[in-house]
Every structure is written in structure tokens, then in C-alpha cells.
């Protein structure tokens, strides 16, 4: 058996260490008694308590959640529609252009995306704040949702919709009663993905936020410039936990859906 050869085992250990050691250290030191980040002085949750008393961080967290919730909801709505249009309407004029435009934000460098949205807001004379960050997040999350919906729809049996029509269901009710419930898991995982991406975005938020709309990643970044404190470790740990939960849920939903498809 070569599965557990020395080479394989060491490759795995080195790889995972490289990927996760920094995060593990961050989590560990968020429970450190000492204010010194590099010296372990015993277990404590006092930095989490202190975190709760830091108004600046709490404000930033609230802004981040508001932006993430609204932007992921709108992006899911628009992305689902875009995904359905791309798969259900066959060929139409400008389809290639439309599909290219959907994918563009995925491949565009974040800095460019941030800069161009910033310029748009300036041109349109929109004051930067929670609204502009939300709009920018919708723009780049939407394409991920549409990709997820498109991949779900590619394995969707069109005759299911035809069967519903055939049994006397109107086209609109067919969408509500048949198509939407079937693709719901994909919609939910699209939402979760948008939510976590909005949660940890720094670059685009820095470009498009204004006074009073500082997001959590931005807050952390600015705090770090004054030195790393255990407080930052604590808030980062919470963020890591949330993102991990979101990504795991999304992939579990995807897995369950694939299993259901394999059964039927």
C-alpha cells in the first residue's frame, strides 16, 4: 500500500501546516492571557469580553452584517434570474455578450473592480456609505450565484416543467411549485457563498465605503497598523468561524443535492 507512504504523509503535513498554521496560531493566541501576542501566559477569554466593550468594533460588525445580508439577498435574486435566463431561454440576441458580462467580475482584479465602482459612484454623485458598499458587493457576488444556478440548471430535466404544464399548471405556477423548490438548495448555497464573500471583502469595501460605513475587515486592517493586539485575534477568530460555517454549509447542501440527483 502506497497510500500512507512517508512521502505522502509528509507532503500532507507540510501542506496543511503551510495552509492552516497561521490560522491555528491566531485562534490560539486569541485565548492568551497576556497582552503580548507572542508569549503564551495561560488560557483566558478576556479579550472576547473586551471585544464586546469596544464600540468601534461592534459598529463595524453591525455594518458588515447589514451589508452582507442585504447584498447577498439581492445578489441571490438577480443571480438566480440571470442563471435561469442563461439556461432556459436558449439562444437570444446578445447571449454571448451577456454571459461574458456575468463572468467579468469573477476574473477582474479586485482593485480594478473597486476602483471602477468608486469612479461610477463619484460620476453619479452618490455619497459613499453603506449603500455604495452594498451595491458594489451585489455586483461581484451576483456572478457567483449565477454560476451556481447555471450549473444546477444544466442537469435540470426540462420535461419536469413540461409535465407540470401538461397537468394543467400555468407557466408561472410551474416556476413557483416545481422549478424553484427543486433548485432551492442551489439558491441557498449561492446566498451563503455571497454572504461569506461580502463578509471578508476588504479591497472593494475600502474603495466604496465612506464615513460611518467601515466594515469589520477594514476595521481590523486599520487596527493592525497600530500593532497586533489579542483583541484583533479574537475578532478574527469569530470571522474565521463564521466564514467556515458558511462555506461548510454551502458545500454540504451541494453534496446532498448531488446525492439526490444520483438517486433519481
Amino acid at each position: 500500500m502506497t497510500r500512507f507512504s512517508k512521502f505522502n504523509v509528509s507532503a500532507i503535513i507540510i501542506g496543511f501546516t503551510f495552509l492552516y498554521l497561521p490560522i491555528i496560531l491566531l485562534i490560539l493566541f486569541s485565548f492568551n492571557e497576556s497582552r503580548l501576542v507572542t508569549v503564551w501566559a495561560g488560557f483566558s477569554t478576556k479579550w472576547y469580553v473586551e471585544l464586546m466593550q469596544n464600540q468601534g468594533i461592534k459598529d463595524a460588525a453591525w455594518v458588515t452584517f447589514k451589508v452582507a445580508f442585504i447584498s447577498s439577498s439581492v445578489a441571490t435574486f438577480l443571480g438566480t434570474i440571470a442563471g435561469l435566463v442563461m439556461t432556459r431561454f436558449g439562444k437570444f440576441r446578445g447571449r454571448t455578450l451577456f454571459s461574458g458580462m456575468i463572468y467579468a467580475p469573477m476574473v477582474m482584479p479586485e482593485v480594478i473592480l473597486g476602483l471602477s465602482t468608486l469612479l461610477t459612484f463619484i460620476t453619479l454623485a452618490i455619497d459613499r456609505g453603506v449603500l455604495t458598499v452594498t451595491l458594489a458587493h451585489i455586483t461581484f457576488s451576483m456572478c457567483y450565484v449565477s454560476v451556481i444556478i447555471q450549473s444546477r440548471m444544466s442537469s435540470y430535466d426540462d420535461s419536469i416543467n413540461e409535465a407540470a404544464l401538461d397537468l394543467g399548471c400555468t407557466p408561472f405556477r410551474t416556476f413557483l411549485l416545481i422549478t424553484f423548490p427543486i433548485i432551492l438548495p442551489a439558491v441557498v448555497s449561492g446566498w451563503l457563498l455571497s454572504f461569506t464573500m461580502s463578509l471578508d471583502d476588504l479591497v472593494i469595501a475600502s474603495f466604496t465605503s465612506g464615513p460611518g460605513s467601515t466594515t469589520l475587515p477594514m476595521k481590523i486592517y486599520s487596527m493592525v497598523r497600530l500593532g497586533v493586539t489579542p483583541e484583533i485575534n479574537a475578532v478574527s477568530t469569530i470571522l474565521v468561524g463564521l466564514v467556515t460555517a458558511g462555506v461548510i454549509t454551502a458545500s454540504l447542501i451541494g453534496k446532498r443535492q448531488r446525492q439526490q440527483l444520483a438517486q433519481s
Binding site: I160, E162, A163, L165, D166, L167, G168, Q260, Q263
Partner: protein, 376 residues
């Protein structure tokens, strides 16, 4: 409509057809899928559309269901023009090749779906669902989801769902295509029973000629968007109108030759294979010297080692190949000119004494009334 019980309503000019397809044409761009096709189907018929893939049979079915609009022509059901009615308002239901069960609903809910769309009261829906479950013998599976059913069970749910609304016409698109051979044969008879019991008109699309022969009252053989022949299974098999139909339905030996006139034995054909005159009883009305064909089903060719005691319709050859099929054997016989014919003989004797074997010199003979004369 006169309610006389006749088994062959298409022969009775007093019978009004139930479905009238009138000069229907369907084009996809430059491609003509259905070419000026007309067809009458009668009440309670079990009508099969049979043809190779791409012949337009599924397109025709989808047009009846309303999923495809036709370019020209119209369709009447029970005297009513349904050409402009969208699919969800047609009194027609369809059973899909993929079954198209709703994966997020239980068997029960799948069957009730169509009834709910009609806003029927709950007690009637429940009663109808129960009847349907009984009909397809799935009462114990009412609470299961489609993902937990076998292929045969899914097929029954699809059938029950499409029958629940008591449609005037049920369309079935390759309903048994996904089942294995044994289950398919069993289900064929069940389909026939259900069709008789519920008195619904069935139109079925299939590429499986055996299936079409077994279940249908009539078969429409299609090719390139046209109906080539519409007749009962027996007629299609025993009296195909041209070589194409003869070849598509079952195995056939075709003899090419020149028409030499009639005598007391029958129609004379100067065969290209044997360079002699061969006979068929069926008369033809073409000038002497025309090219015509004889079609002979393999089971109608008698294969013997002894020279038959007649002096016509005898071909000499050598056994090239034997396909043992249990109840019958298929023999490939090579004629002296190299042409290969197929003959089938029932294996009546259990012992090897009467068996023919590879390389045997044999004679093929047929009765003149067994051959079909084809003009094209």
C-alpha cells in the same frame, strides 16, 4: 357519434374519428420535421407511432401535447380545434420518456398534482389518488419520494399521474424504453389492460417494433416526417406496402426482379438471384417488364435437406450460420450466387437427428401465398 362497438372503427365510414390531424407541417428553420401529415385516430384506440429516431414521431407527439406549435395545419380532438390552445389547457396528458416525476414530492403528491391544478375538492382528489395507486399497485409506496423508487415503479407513478386527470387522450413517449426486457414485456400487457379498463385513447411513440406489434390496435410507420403506412400490426407485418416498411418491421428476404406476367400459379418474377421464375399469389397491376420485388418473412421459408416435391419456388444453398434461439433457430443460407437469405425454423424435435448444421446443402421453398409483392 354512433356508439357501435366495432373493433376496427377505421373501416367503418359511419365512425367519426376522435383525433383528426389535418395536413400538419412542422419546420425547424430549414428542416422539415413533419411534412404535410394527416391522420385520423379513433376513440379507445391504442395507436403506435413507429419509426427510426429522427423520423418526427416525437415531434408529432409533442405537437399533440402542445409543446411544439406547428407551422401549418390543425388538430381536432373530439371535433374541437386545439391548435391554438396552450398545453396547460388541453384535455390531453402525456407520459414522458424520462418519467419527469417531481423529485421533491411524494408519489401521492405527484399523482395529485394535476387534480390540484383543477381545484377539485380534497376528498375527490384523495379518492382519485387512491384509485390510481391501486390501479398501478403502488398503494404501499404512496409516501415515498421518486428517488426511492425503482425504474419500474417510477414508470407506474408516471403512468398514474398522467391518467389521474382522466384525459381524453394519453400520449406516451417511449413509455417502456428505460425498462429491462422482461419488465418491458410484462408492462406491455399491463398497459393494454389499463387502456381497456379506463377506455382512454392512447397514442404511443416507440422505436421498438415488437412493442408496437404487441400493444397496438394500429401502427403508423413514419419516416422523414411522413406516414408511410397506417395499418393493423398484422397488416403491417404480412402486407407491408413497400420495402422500407417490410425492412423496418421484422426481418425480411427481398427478391429483386422483373415482372413477367401472371399464370395459374400466380405472379411471375424473373429473379436476379436464381435467374429463374419465382411465384407469388398476390396479383399486381403493372406492365410486364417492370421492376418489382417479392418480400418473404424468414419463418415462411421452409428449409429442408430433401428436395421439396414441387417444381417452383425452390432455391438451393448452403448453411452459413445458425442462431439457436431455443424455441426456434435462425439459419443464414448462402445461395449459389453468393446472396444470403434468412430462414427461421421452429425447433419441434428435441433430439439432434433432424437438426441442420453448418455447411449443409439445403433447399429453400415457399408457398406462393406467403410472398408479398412490392412495387417500390
Amino acid at each position: 357519434m354512433t356508439e357501435t362497438t366495432t373493433t376496427e372503427p377505421w373501416l367503418d365510414s359511419n365512425q367519426k374519428p376522435y383525433i383528426q390531424i389535418e395536413s400538419v407541417t412542422k419546420k425547424f428553420g430549414d428542416f422539415t420535421a413533419i411534412d404535410n401529415l394527416s391522420l385520423d385516430i379513433y376513440k379507445n384506440e391504442f395507436f403506435s407511432l413507429l419509426g427510426p429516431s429522427g423520423c418526427g414521431k416525437t415531434t408529432l407527439l409533442r405537437m399533440l401535447a402542445g409543446f411544439e406549435r406547428f407551422t401549418e395545419g390543425r388538430v381536432l380532438v373530439d371535433g374541437e380545434d386545439i391548435s391554438e390552445i396552450p398545453p396547460h389547457l388541453r384535455p390531453i396528458n402525456m407520459m414522458f420518456q424520462s418519467y419527469a416525476l417531481f423529485p421533491h414530492m411524494t408519489v401521492e403528491k405527484n399523482i395529485a398534482f394535476g387534480l390540484k391544478q383543477d381545484k377539485l375538492p380534497d376528498n375527490i382528489i384523495n379518492q382519485r389518488v387512491e384509485e390510481m395507486l391501486e390501479l398501478v399497485e403502488l398503494t404501499d409506496f404512496a409516501k415515498r419520494k421518486p428517488g426511492q423508487l425503482s425504474g419500474g415503479q417510477s414508470q407506474r407513478v408516471a403512468l398514474a399521474r398522467s391518467l389521474a386527470k382522466q384525459p381524453k387522450l394519453l400520449l406516451l413517449d417511449e413509455p417502456l424504453g428505460a425498462l429491462d426486457k422482461r419488465l418491458r414485456e410484462q408492462t406491455q400487457f399491463e398497459l393494454m389492460d389499463i387502456q381497456e379498463k379506463l377506455e382512454v385513447t392512447f397514442v404511443i411513440v416507440t422505436h421498438d417494433q415488437e412493442e408496437a406489434m404487441t400493444v397496438s390496435s394500429r401502427i403508423g410507420v413514419m419516416d422523414s416526417g411522413k406516414l408511410i403506412q397506417v395499418a393493423t400490426p398484422t397488416q403491417i407485418y404480412e402486407a407491408p406496402i413497400n420495402r422500407e416498411v417490410a425492412d423496418f418491421i421484422g426481418d425480411v428476404n427481398i427478391f429483386k426482379g422483373i415482372y413477367k406476367g401472371q399464370d395459374e400459379t400466380g405472379t411471375q418474377l424473373l429473379s436476379e438471384d436464381s435467374k429463374s421464375i419465382i411465384y407469388a399469389t398476390q396479383k399486381v397491376d403493372v406492365p410486364v417488364g417492370n421492376r418489382i420485388w417479392f418480400a418473404l418473412r424468414p419463418e415462411k421459408l421452409e428449409i429442408t435437406r430433401k428436395l421439396p416435391e414441387v417444381d417452383f419456388n425452390i432455391l438451393k444453398g448452403k448453411i452459413e450460420d445458425i442462431g439457436y434461439g431455443g424455441s426456434f433457430s435462425t439459419y443464414h443460407v448462402k445461395l449459389e450466387n453468393g446472396r444470403q437469405l434468412t430462414a427461421i425454423r421452429a425447433n419441434r424435435e428435441r433430439t439432434a437427428e433432424h437438426h441442420l448444421t453448418w455447411g449443409d446443402e439445403v433447399y429453400l421453398h415457399w408457398a406462393p401465398h406467403s410472398a408479398v409483392v412490392l412495387l417500390s
